[in-house]
């Protein structure tokens, strides 16, 4: 009964979205205030209704109501509570409802915090936002309805895919969707501005915090996904260049570019039409990602819910919105005149270079991701594009970005001086090369990856510090340190995020270059050396979890004769889903992770055991956390108080119960 109410609420919200798509638009065109004012209550009620629908679906999962087809297919009564809740979005229909919930939440935020926007612009933004919502309401109600009942409710459910029963994955989709869908705000603002034919600093002041919030969530979402892959998939990779990973990475790259160019619009009233284009592309790539994931046209390890018919529907949404927006752009972009002039050497030019590099690196990912499809359709060649391609085609652009980033950040607005920025960076450059050389001297194997990674990381991190220090002006040390604490938060955010990028670069390079691996058959009682460590296989034990059986090994890791860690890698079997999983045991450390995996019993006795020593692994995600933190610090800047609503988003998206 309560789920029917949820179903009705969803249909009602669909009706409201249809109205909100039309009425405020007409109002803005004709200048009718009443019609424009319809948008705010409509956006609020859409959010409340979708929130209610989402809460009823959650209720059905929590109470294990197997008369609901979706619950039957994706839940089980013995599943722990947290996974009953996360199971709501661990499937296609529920995840689309979450997507819609977040979409309407952003729409409602624009209504709640948009009081200082011009009325016509706000009405148009909300109208465009509602039109996106309409497309997804129709998609859910007509092709992926989560509220369908089963005539004969089964006794128990089929359980959630065990790989998804994991804390990392429980929170990965909500963050990712907050990012994907958050970019719809930038899109709506871009289209509204194109309709109005005007982009000014006030527009930039609005778009930037929303983009920044979306970017922060996207960063966290991607990092969570990568962290999950690291500990769950069992061989400790952190990025696989899988089509679905790429689908989240492309919007991230474009959003990063947008974030920077929006600053130029806000502060210097320049690069307007380029920023509008980026806003359209960023959301376009989000939709493309949704298409790739849901359609299954590209084989991917994430294909847990795909269906060609749904894919076609999303392709239509993609074509209509991106095609429509780009047509509008072609017609109206000329109307946007730049006001602020700037010289060839200036912060603005630095940001243009940043945008070019980010956009081209997004293009590398895009071409690599769709090439198998294009080659098959156009040239009848069945081929694969995998990690080796991306490693060699993508890395140069990241290196280039890392090299120019500290320079660009130091240049002054309007007109800068390479000489001045260069003088500030000389010491950092010397230090970077020296530490890179040191890394080269002490490492074995002599690959260039590690030393180059070290040098780049030092360059970027210290560059961020120099940037911050240079803002404190001149004078005595005490005065400058005092001023450091009083710098605007946006400055701190920028430096923290830039340093985070350096930390991630270091983690990736160090882990890739210096990882040690050992694969062997070990008997209980064996003790073997891996790198500087010794591993002792103490025993195995069979156990029983809430909805799985497990084989758990006990292993002690010694360093210099003393026990450094005792780890319990597991091999689990989920009987309902009939699926085994490996649970690697990881001892996280600041300078290294010890990563142990237990495998199948061998015919001659003993077990297959894999041991990895992964130097500086946590720095990869630590850097991502720093980047997200930098974004949050910048969002909290007093001058961006309008973003207060966006920062509160995560608290609001968890339904009651």
């Amino acid at each position: 009964m309560i789920t029917e109410l949820g179903h009705f609420a969803l249909i009602l919200a669909f009706g409201i979205a249809l109205m909100q798509m039309v009425v405020p638009m007409v109002g803005a065109h004709k200048g009718w205030r009443g019609w424009m004012a319809f948008a705010e209550p409509a956006a609020t009620s859409q959010f409340i209704l979708v929130g209610f629908a989402f809460a009823t679906l959650t209720w059905a999962f929590v109470t294990s109501d197997f008369s609901l087809k979706l619950v039957y297919e994706n839940s089980h009564s013995a599943k722990p509570m947290i996974y009953k809740i996360s199971g709501v979005w661990g499937n296609h229909e529920g995840s689309m409802l979450l997507w819609l919930l977040i979409l309407t939440l952003f729409g409602a935020c624009a209504a709640w915090f948009g009081g200082n926007l011009p009325a016509a612009l706000r009405a148009r933004v909300l109208g465009v936002q509602a039109s996106i919502a309409v497309a997804f309401f129709a998609f859910i109600l007509f092709t992926s309805n989560p509220f369908l009942r089963l005539a004969v409710p089964p006794f128990d459910g089929r359980d959630l895919n065990p790989l998804l029963q994991d804390p990392g994955l429980a929170f990965h989709p909500p963050f990712l969707y907050l990012g994907y869908v958050g970019l719809s705000m930038a899109f709506s603002f871009a289209v509204a501005a194109l309709i109005e034919g005007r982009v000014d600093a006030a527009w930039g002041r609005w778009v930037r915090p929303w983009t920044l919030a979306a970017w922060v969530f996207l960063t966290i979402g991607i990092a969570l996904g990568s962290w999950w892959a690291y500990y769950e998939l069992g061989w400790g990779g952190f990025w696989f260049w899988d089509p679905v990973e790429n689908a989240s990475f492309m919007p991230w790259l474009i959003a990063t570019a947008l974030l920077h160019s929006a600053i130029v619009v806000e502060k210097r009233e320049s690069l307007k039409s380029w920023t509008v284009l980026l806003a359209i592309l960023a959301f376009g790539f989000s939709l493309l990602g949704a298409f790739i994931v849901r359609s299954g046209v590209l084989t991917s390890v994430h294909a847990f819910a795909n269906d060609p018919e749904r894919g076609l529907y999303i392709l239509i949404i993609l074509a209509v919105f991106v095609g429509g927006a780009l047509t509008l752009y072609a017609l109206r972009a000329g109307a946007m005149e730049a006001k602020g002039a700037f010289g060839m050497v200036s912060r603005e030019s630095g940001i243009v270079l940043n945008n070019i590099l980010l956009a081209v690196s997004a293009l590398v990912v895009f071409v690599g991701t769709i090439w198998p499809l294009a080659a098959e359709m156009l040239f009848e060649r069945t081929l694969s594009v995998g990690p080796p391609f991306f490693d060699s085609a993508f890395t140069p652009f990241m290196v280039a970005i890392a090299v120019v980033m500290p320079f660009g950040a130091l240049l002054a607005w309007k007109r800068g001086s390479i000489g001045r920025a260069g003088r500030q960076m000389v010491l950092v450059g010397v230090l970077a090369v020296a530490l890179g050389g040191l890394a080269f001297a002490v490492q074995t194997g002599r690959s260039a990856l590690g030393p180059v990674g070290v040098a780049l990381a030092v360059w970027v991190i210290l560059g961020a510090a120099v940037d911050l220090w240079s803002r404190t002006g001149r004078g005595g040390l005490a005065g400058r340190v005092g001023r450091l604490a009083r710098l605007p938060r946006a400055d701190w955010g920028k430096s923290v995020a830039h340093a985070g990028m350096g930390v991630t670069i270091f983690g990736v390079a160090a882990m890739t270059a210096w990882q040690q691996e050992d694969i062997r058959v070990a008997q209980v009682g064996d003790r073997f050396a891996v790198g500087a460590y010794e591993v002792e296989f103490r025993g195995v034990e069979n156990g029983q979890g809430p909805n799985y059986t497990t084989l758990m090994a006990e292993m002690a890791v010694y360093r210099d004769g003393a026990v450094e860690a005792v780890l319990f890698p597991e091999k689990r079997n989920y009987p309902v889903a009939q699926m085994p999983t490996t649970e690697a045991a990881i001892d996280n450390g600041f300078t290294r992770d010890l990563y142990l995996v237990i495998g199948d019993p061998q015919t001659g006795g003993g077990y297959a055991v894999r041991t990895y020593i992964k130097p500086f692994a946590n720095w990869i995600w630590g850097g991502a956390i720093l980047m997200a933190l930098g974004g949050f610090i910048s969002l909290s800047d007093r001058r961006l108080r309008v973003a207060a609503g966006a920062a509160r988003v995560p608290a609001a998206q968890v339904p009651a119960e």
Binding site: M344, L363, F397
Partner: protein
């Protein structure tokens, strides 16, 4: 749903990938084998290399790579033998031949074009006067302000 479960088991089943029994005793040959197998796609999996995959076919391919290496083949010969059998689909790093040039050259071409367009646009727009530093009077004035 059944094929879905099947597909999931194919890729997600815990994966011990390279089995201890398959590995060669010669560390140099084994390193080469690992290097080759990370570049070859498992023909029956969803986007995994034979080095990571747990499928039986991947295990067979891993053994085949090692047998050929032991027999004295070069890396290129080993890869060619497997491509002969399964087509270029197994190459995770596509050749830069024919239409694949588009794949390899799209980004560099785009970078050059974008830099060119960016440069031309920047030159055409009204520019702020270049930074010529302070004139003597200005420098004097700045010094006065800083002293006070």
């Amino acid at each position: 749903m059944r094929w879905l479960a099947l597909a999931l088991t194919l890729w997600a089943a815990p994966l011990l990938a390279v089995q201890p029994g398959e590995m060669l005793d010669d560390p140099v040959l084994e390193a080469r084998a690992r290097e080759i197998s990370t570049g070859l796609r498992c023909p029956v999996c969803r986007n995994e290399s034979i080095d990571e995959s747990n499928a039986t076919l991947s295990a067979d391919l891993r053994v085949m790579v090692r047998e050929r290496l032991v027999a004295g083949d070069t890396d290129a010969e080993v890869v060619a033998a497997i491509v002969d059998r399964y087509g270029e689909f197994v190459l995770l790093r596509p050749d830069a031949t024919g239409a694949n040039l588009i794949l390899w050259l799209a980004a560099p071409a785009m970078l050059i074009a974008a830099l060119g367009i960016g440069l031309v646009t920047l030159r055409r727009r009204p520019t702020a006067a270049s930074d010529t530093g302070l004139s003597e009077d200005e420098a004097k004035r700045v010094a006065e302000i800083l002293r006070s």
